[in-house]
Amino acid sequence: MDFLFSYIVLAEIYVLLGLSTNLLVGIVGIFSISQAAVFGVGAYIVAHFLMADLALSFIPSLAIAAAGCVALNVIVTLPSLRVSGDYFVVTSFGIQLLATAVFTNWTAGTGGANGLPGIPPPDVFGLPIETTGQYVLLCSAASALGCLAFWLIMGAPFGRLLRAIREDEIAVAAAGKNVLAAKVSAAALAGAFAGTAGGLYATFLSFIDPSSFDLDASILLLTMVVVGGARTLAGSIVGPFLLLALPQLLTLVDIPTTIAAAARQLLYGLLLIAFMLFRPQGLAGERL
């Protein structure tokens, strides 16, 4: 039972990441390969504040992490999107590789390659969250709020504006709207989702290390959105739940542990190619 709860908790954390990635890649149409980096920043920030000498409790730490990730996304997207989409591709790769370098080498801040152990469990306004069952409740609430926010946005004028931008930016500018500001706002929101997911992840595992936030992790996030489906709430939920179940299915096939990780990443790559060629709308989304 605990195993099932663990799967649900992780899937729900990845739903938040799925919403974040979907906002950037699916809705605004920006190719982001640095989602895991932002996820990691959120995780490390929460871990830091929970374990600092003057420790903060969970919710304030989460707020700081979300704010930090918002700022990070704005700083990254604002100058690069002003130039072009391909510029952002390079920036995104750069941020991801840079983040991995920081996570792995800034031992003072992130524990370096050995990671940060002993992250305390969270508490919600004094109520401690310790059992896996309680975690399920916490993450269900968080992901539900995330889904609600996503749904509200897509139904609001902001959602319509983003859809119009994806179709024809020039026409949107000619209609008097600030395209760059809209894209950066979407990216900022994506940052908030990713940072929150990072905080939940750090406290759930109570140990984080750089390998969870590297380029391969970003590829997994992209695969979730591609398989689940772009631009829809359903796609953001289906993708994570399905992709997180895949490794379990893989264990049914006899793959030596030395190449298990490579086998997973190979599968993600194949899924990306297959879906782009044959089903760009994913299982439950709209055409990318």
């Binding site: 510029y87 591709v89 840079l98 490579a262 790559g269 190619i273």
Partner: protein, 286 residues
């Protein structure tokens, strides 16, 4: 390490990087596709040469065979993946994601077959040292400089003097016009990726010959190469090569003050400067 030695090391790395940048730039300027899978071809080249070499195939032949294989692979990616996506009117984003998928497939097949550990070439002459004053270089490094410069010169000659080269430049300059004249852009795309894949074999083999093979080592050089391409001005072969050398030299010299793990930061910092102050690059082609 002496600054001069660092400078020379930077020149070596920069020359290799320059060929990566030129080959990537050829594809990008012509097809407008951000061909991240290029990093996979680069990686595969080294492993193929290593396999051949450890099975007794002489070095030059191993390199040529690896080139042939990579050329075929590049053409395959263009015809089976990119061309198909173009026929379905795929967006730029879709092609990028597919290219990333191809990269992941290539890297991880390599990791599964060869393990993720570092592999070394067993080619004795490659590590023989030569000293010139206080500077020391091994044969591989010298070969890298010579062959990379030759590749650069060859590419320039090809682009400006041969018919195919001019055809490629015409398609790159105006794909729409190329469509309605008889330049057949789609065929040109296959040629371009084939040539680029063959070119990138050179650093793909030479760099691991010196530093060892690792399945995931292709992304960072590719990223640096794209930054050099952008900073040099998209469409400028010379710009891409020169900026690659410049960036590699700056990166190496920075080792005097910054630990090696942060080199990516130096490269990225250079990129940010260009992005903020001169996004079109130094020698943007007209």
């Amino acid at each position: 390490m002496l600054p001069l030695q660092l400078l020379v090391n930077g020149l070596v790395t920069g020359c290799a990087l320059g060929v990566v940048a030129i080959s990537f730039s050829l594809v990008y300027a012509t097809t407008k596709i951000f061909h991240v899978a290029h990093a996979g071809v680069y990686t595969l080249a080294g492993y193929l040469a290593w396999s051949l070499s450890t099975h007794g195939v002489p070095s030059v032949l191993a390199l040529l065979l690896a080139m042939a294989a990579c050329t075929a692979l590049g053409a395959l990616i263009q015809t089976q993946l990119y061309a198909r996506l173009e026929r379905r009117h795929a967006t730029h984003l879709v092609v990028l994601i597919a290219s990333l998928g191809a990269l992941a497939v290539m890297q991880n097949i390599i990791a599964a077959v060869y393990t993720p550990n570092i592999l070394q070439f067993a080619v004795p002459w490659s590590s023989r040292m030569v000293a010139a004053g206080s500077i020391r270089l091994n044969y591989t490094q010298m070969l890298t400089i010579v062959l990379s410069l030759a590749a650069y010169a060859g590419t320039m000659l090809f682009a400006h003097r041969t018919i195919l080269g001019k055809r490629i430049r015409a398609v790159a300059a105006n794909p729409f016009l190329a469509e309605i004249t008889r330049l057949e852009p789609r065929t040109v795309y296959v040629y371009v990726i084939a040539i680029a894949s063959a070119l990138v074999c050179l650093p793909g083999v030479l760099v691991p010959l010196d530093l060892g093979l690792q399945p995931y080592n292709g992304v960072t050089p590719l990223l640096t190469a794209t930054i050099a391409m952008i900073a040099g001005g998209v469409g400028s072969i010379s710009g891409a090569f020169v900026l690659s050398v410049a960036i590699a030299v700056v990166q190496n010299l920075s080792l005097l003050v910054i630990p090696g793990e942060w080199s990516i930061g130096v490269t990225f910092f250079i990129f940010v400067i260009f992005m903020l102050f001169r996004p079109t690059g130094l020698f943007a082609a007209r």
